[in-house]
């Protein structure tokens, strides 16, 4: 049953990723990309690794994903495609062969557990880390803006 749900979530993620590639509108592509990341986060949540799910949901979908969607809505181009669609079939066949090979040679145990507390006993460290990173990025952006306008 668990494998079926993971398989379902994986298929959903791949379908949305394909949607991001097939659609020619940047805005829809960004929306499909966000849905893909949501499905990836759902796989983590299903396995009970909630800390990573929170990181993906808040940082990737909440922050970066929303900015990407807004950016794609601003620069909403309809792009012609340069690559033949047959390459997708070839690429996916190679991907499946690689995935089966790697999967068969990877050790997999049945137990999933979240041991985040063993590494970081306090989530405040994580929050402090995020605030420091954001401040650094903001300072860099302000510095570039000032230099650009000068």
């Amino acid at each position: 049953m668990e494998a079926v749900i993971v398989l379902l979530l994986s298929v959903i993620a791949l379908i949305f990723a394909l949607g991001a590639w097939i659609t020619r509108d940047n805005f829809y592509s960004a929306l499909f990309m966000s849905a893909t990341m949501l499905a990836v986060g759902a796989i983590y949540a299903f396995h009970g690794i909630y800390s990573v799910f929170v990181l993906i949901a808040f940082i990737f979908i909440g922050a970066v994903g929303i900015v990407t969607v807004a950016l794609a809505a601003t620069y909403r181009f309809v792009n012609p495609r340069k690559v033949d669609e047959r390459w997708l079939v070839v690429g996916e066949v190679i991907a499946v062969i690689l995935a089966v090979t790697v999967g068969l040679n990877t050790f997999m145990a049945g137990e999933f557990s979240d041991a985040f507390d063993k590494m970081l006993t306090d989530y405040s460290v994580l929050v402090a880390f995020l605030i420091v990173l954001t401040t650094l990025l903001m300072l860099s952006a302000i510095s570039m803006l000032r230099r650009d306008s000068a």
Partner: protein, 99 residues
Amino acid sequence: MIETATSIGLLVIGYLIATSAKDVIRLLISLELMFSAVFLSVVPLFTNPSLIAEGNAITLITVFTSAGELLIMISAIIFLDRKFRKTTVDVITTGGDEL
């Protein structure tokens, strides 16, 4: 195994979007898809009890690093538009070779 297969599938689709991209917004989207593939590839680490701490550390560093890279790329896109008034990457006219 399912996660690994999905990870490789997402990576391939990300590469396809990157190769067919005609503007930097698409490149950003393809990068984010590739990063989601990286996250999925870390899942098997959590199945081995002796590697869970390493899995957490790798995921934490990956999430913050990739988020930082993407934010820098978003800033770069905005500056590109301000400087050249376009975000397309059909022809490189400044720096590099003309393709």
